[in-house]
């Protein structure tokens, strides 16, 4: 699963430690999520979404499954 956590954090000039505090997790967990080594649970994804004021799918997205718009475009060519 890909995510925009690093970008969103950088936009706010937050350190990993500050983001970790805000999400109530360890800095190691924030780093593992940012580098794609660990996928967060749904409650943690919701906490991140609430913190950044975004929807979950605006932060996290599945890299294996094409997005809805890609599927619609594919259907258009069939």
């Amino acid at each position: 699963m890909k995510n925009r956590l690093k970008v969103l954090r950088a936009e706010r000039n937050w350190t990993q430690a500050e983001l970790a505090d805000a999400l109530d997790v360890s800095r190691q967990t924030v780093n593992a999520i940012e580098t794609g080594k660990f996928d967060p649970s749904l409650p943690l994804a919701f906490r991140a979404a609430r913190l950044f004021g975004l929807r979950i799918e605006e932060i996290f997205h599945d890299e294996e499954r094409p997005t809805l718009t890609t599927e619609i475009r594919k259907d258009a060519y069939v």
Binding site: W14, E18, Q28, T29, N31, S41
Partner: protein
Amino acid sequence: MNQSIPREGYQSRIRATTLRLAIWTFAWVVTCAFMNFGPKFLWDKAIVFTVLAIALNVGVGAGMILANKNYIMGLDELQRKVYLNALAITVGVGLIAGVPFEVMDTYDVISFHAKISHLVMIMSLTFVVSILYGSRRYR
């Protein structure tokens, strides 16, 4: 944009539960020594004191189990995953190593007696290596 965010303490909470676990573990080790060496060196094998020492050890052991449970429940999801993976490997190694170890003792494959303390050492070592490996993997 530099928004400030509330700083609360996952770290301080973990420090507190870790300290509590360390205190309970230390107390348990002390009561283990008390229970093992007391009968010989302190009360000349008097049954009453030995039973009391065993009861104290079991009681403190129960406290240590609860402290460990609280510690695990306080971890965040990644650290809990690393910890539970390490526990799973440790229990597996304990089981897989323990049974053949006893058979080796029974049929004199090894020159020394298989003791529970050997197994505890193997399991402790396995746990430490598993935790280090797990932490490194997600670093």
